[in-house]
């Protein structure tokens, strides 16, 4: 009984039962036939999404995350550094972080802040800084004013430009749109990491799983 229920909520079900392609922005998702037990999805990464790693990398690692989610924080601290060291820095894979900001209004603010940082070419500096200084979810650590105060500490940051961008809410729609796209992909919790490329399609890993789980999937996709 637990297994059946677990199957329903485990993230595999929404993908496998997803019927019809969804077009949102630059992402196209199409259902695929199962390869043995492994479900894959097709995912076109938005052209505006900044990445880490070599442009010639064979594989993409795409995380849907929430800046307030403690498990995303765990993934950032535990597995992401090793993935970066073994696959991103060696030119085998590119890493993308996309918004799935669903835990509250402060998550939305944090997501918008990332795109404001991106205007200054600091998307991943912001990503790293926020996850390194993450507070308890919905405790008020990431209100617009607190976020502005935090952003001051990111090196080389134009805080006036950042504050103005955040106040204008110019990226509100983008954050919501990316979150909706994640939902369309079957993302039911964060972090959800899609690993693959256009040819092999993408396998998802849900949760702050140990590095060896990601290694297993990445090596399979590289192989």
């Amino acid at each position: 009984m637990f297994l059946v229920i677990g199957y329903f909520i485990g993230g595999t079900f929404p993908v496998s039962n997803f019927t019809g392609a969804v077009k949102e922005s630059n992402i196209v998702i199409q259902p695929q036939q199962p390869q043995q037990m492994q479900q894959t999805v097709k995912l076109q990464i938005p052209s505006f999404a900044p990445s880490r790693g070599s442009d010639s990398a064979q594989l993409n690692i795409v995380e849907f995350g929430d800046y307030q989610c403690p498990f995303c924080g765990r993934f950032f601290q535990q597995s992401e550094p090793q993935i970066k060291q073994d696959y991103v820095d060696t030119g085998k894979a590119k890493f993308y972080f996309l918004d799935f900001q669903f835990l509250g209004p402060d998550s939305q603010t944090l997501g918008q802040g990332a795109w404001c940082a991106n205007d200054q070419g600091k998307y991943y500096d912001y990503h790293d800084y926020i996850y390194s200084h993450q507070g308890q979810e919905n405790s008020g650590w990431a209100t617009p004013d607190k976020l502005k105060a935090l952003a001051v500490n990111i090196s080389g940051f134009d805080t006036a430009k950042f504050d103005s961008c955040l106040d204008s809410k110019k990226y509100e729609a983008r954050v919501q749109q990316l979150t909706q796209i994640g939902q369309g992909l079957g993302v039911s919790g964060t972090p959800t990491i899609f690993i693959g490329n256009d040819q092999k399609e993408y396998i998802s890993v849900v949760g702050a799983q140990p590095y060896d789980v990601f290694k297993q999937v990445i090596d399979k996709q590289l192989g």
């Binding site: 595999t12 498990f71 765990r74 979810e137 799983q209």
Partner: protein
């Protein structure tokens, strides 16, 4: 209750059964909430050690990300589930009867425990299946709202089983 408890657990077999069932329940709670990962690993023919790693990592994640209170409550539900099921087995063997409907409450408590956030991701809990958007992360106590009543139900269930055993004359008073 004390006498019934002593009657059951005087036999070492029931102590062993309780420990095994408690461990199994804890494993199942984590398995059910990380099922997508297990399916992925099965599809990749992963070695067994990786499955164990997911379980131990899951436990560490609950402790680190959800806090000691939730972690302790999940452990408590697992232990109480082991004790309750062992007592039901004892009752079945001694009285050839399941008891009565109130024993079913024990299974309600166990089921409730599975709804606690024993997951390595925000929101991907069993609660999501019932349309609780955001899973248990939207509740202020992050899952204790479910696991604490489960503990109460399991304790009540153990009381009723003990009472049933005493009334049936299977316990020395």
């Amino acid at each position: 209750m004390k006498n019934a408890f002593q009657s059951v657990f005087r036999n070492p077999k029931y102590i062993v059964a309780s420990v095994l069932i408690s461990s199994l329940m804890f494993f199942i709670f984590i398995l059910a909430n990380n099922f997508a990962t297990f399916v992925t690993l099965l599809g990749l023919n992963s070695p067994p050690k990786l499955f164990i790693e997911v379980v131990t990592n899951g436990a560490a994640n609950i402790l680190a990300a959800s806090g000691i209170a939730l972690f302790a409550s999940i452990i408590a539900v697992s232990i109480l589930s082991g004790l309750t099921i062992s007592m039901i087995i004892y009752q079945l063997r001694m009285t050839r009867s399941f008891g009565c409907k109130r024993n079913l409450a024990g299974f309600g408590g166990i089921f409730g425990g599975a709804f606690s956030s024993a997951c390595s991701a925000c929101s991907t809990t069993l609660a999501s299946i019932f349309g609780v958007a955001g899973g248990l992360s939207i509740f202020p106590l992050k899952g204790l709202e479910v696991s604490l009543p489960s503990i109460g139900i399991l304790v009540a269930s153990m009381y009723f089983i003990s009472k049933g055993l005493v009334e049936s004359g299977r316990c020395k008073i």
